[in-house]
């Protein structure tokens, strides 16, 4: 193998799980996710000469993957670009009627130890564009500015999508608590 190939795979290796997870959670099905990931990695490999050493390889390759995913899903691209509302980003106020959520906050570790799958299901139920922004921030730890650049949208819109995703996620968890009676069994 060539030096270029070795250098590329050495940089790709630490990002493999993150890229794979992201593709799996953003694509229609497993085979679409595999296709998107392979397409993105091949594109990155072809363009590796224009990657600037010393900058973030993770950000560079994620941007390529996001483009591949959005190119096959213009609905999500449109939803991402929709102008952000001017809503107050007050999560406490948005959830003030969710008593069940208060119960989760009082027992976060206990709740997540006992029902870890509820979080995964709640994330899965988010609208695709909100899930994308949420995963880029909460799982892959990209900054608002990086996410805005990846998605070619203003930072205010990133914050708005993220706020809605977090609110929706917490409402879904509260629904789950109400349905399963977690509040009654945890004490």
């Amino acid at each position: 193998m060539t030096h270029r190939h070795d250098e590329f795979t050495a940089l790709l290796e630490p990002e493999r799980d993150g890229l794979w997870r992201f593709a799996q959670r953003q694509c229609w099905d497993r085979s679409a996710a595999e296709d998107c990931l392979q397409d993105a990695v091949m594109t990155a490999y072809r363009k590796f000469d224009v990657f600037t050493p010393g900058t973030s390889f993770k950000a560079w390759v994620f941007r390529i993957l996001i483009n591949v995913i959005l190119n096959s899903n213009s609905q999500t691209r449109r939803a991402l670009s929709r102008r952000a509302g001017t809503e107050d980003l007050d999560l406490v106020a948005a959830l003030e009627r969710e008593d069940a959520y208060e119960n989760i906050l009082e027992n976060v570790d206990d709740y997540l130890d006992r029902v870890p799958d509820s979080i995964k299901r709640a994330v899965k139920s988010l609208p695709t564009h909100e899930r994308m922004v949420f995963l880029l921030r909460a799982v892959e730890a990209f900054s608002y500015r990086e996410i805005a650049q990846f998605l070619d949208i203003p930072m205010g819109t990133v914050m708005s999508h993220l706020f809605r995703a977090r609110t929706r996620l917490r409402e879904t968890l509260a629904d789950y608590v109400r349905e399963t009676g977690f509040a009654r069994t945890s004490a």
């Binding site: 392979q38 980003l89 999560l91 730890a141």
Partner: protein
């Protein structure tokens, strides 16, 4: 800083995205306010644990190996491509001759409707596969698959026809993934199928014959399609009851 101001900044503060002087002001408030500090700590814990849980999934080794293989694959000589293409053409012509699905996608949808809505005993339909009938669950199911063209677009009455949502389900039509929404229009079973355009385009052109006409009829059922940029929406109904036009159900 007051509690309300601090909590408005809470998630941006926890994301470390505030300017330094604002971060300092929030930190100062938290030092003196137990209620806010407890709320911030709990939200921070929930967010971190969520991130950690979602990071648990890892790429299977064989998929990684296959990805590396595709990078290192040597250039195939042209004559090998030519030989492979010849084999593929031969295999495809055999497949098309023996394949029973030449009557098209619309008829496949009518078959699926019959199985779902009319309890066709040959159908392999399990109640566990069906999402709904709650509107929110169906909306989320479609949104999740980027098929939200029907979401919230199905009110309980359309042009005087009472509409009752029954459920939504993943489908495989001619081998391609799709979704269906079952409903009752004036009590009569009706299905709406949504399929991504790239999946429709992936079908052999022979199988799309009926689709090009946009409508088809078979054994008392009628199917009609509307094609948008990204999705194809098809309505299947019983000819004995004429429902409102498809355009009312789908915003394309």
């Amino acid at each position: 800083m007051k509690c309300q101001q601090a909590r408005r900044l809470m998630m941006v503060y926890l994301d470390s995205e505030l300017e330094t002087h604002v971060t300092d002001a929030v930190s100062e408030h938290l030092d003196g306010c137990d209620v806010c500090r407890e709320r911030f700590d709990a939200e921070d814990r929930l967010e971190r644990r969520t991130g950690a849980l979602l990071r648990e999934a890892t790429m299977p080794e064989e998929e990684w190996e296959s990805l590396l293989d595709s990078l290192g694959r040597p250039v195939t000589p042209w004559w090998r491509w030519a030989a492979a293409a010849a084999v593929l053409v031969a295999a495809l012509s055999l497949l098309l001759k023996s394949e029973p699905h030449q009557d098209g996608l619309l008829h496949e949808m009518m078959r699926a409707h019959r199985a779902l809505a009319m309890g066709d005993e040959r159908a392999d339909v399990s109640a566990a596969d069906i999402v709904g009938p709650e509107r929110e669950a169906i909306d989320a199911f479609l949104e999740q698959r980027s098929l939200g063209v029907l979401a919230a677009a199905i009110p309980s009455t359309i042009e005087g026809h009472p509409i009752e949502l029954v459920g939504a389900r993943e489908e495989r039509l001619l081998g391609q993934p799709a979704a269906s929404v079952q409903l009752r229009c004036c009590g009569t079973p009706t299905s709406l199928f949504v399929m991504r355009r790239d999946r429709v385009d992936a079908l052999p052109s022979e199988w799309q014959k009926a689709l090009q006409k946009g409508s088809a009829e078979e054994d008392g059922l009628r199917a009609q399609s509307l094609a948008g940029d990204d999705v194809l929406v098809t309505h299947v109904w019983h000819t004995g009851h004429e429902p409102p036009p498809l355009a009312v159900f789908a915003s394309l």
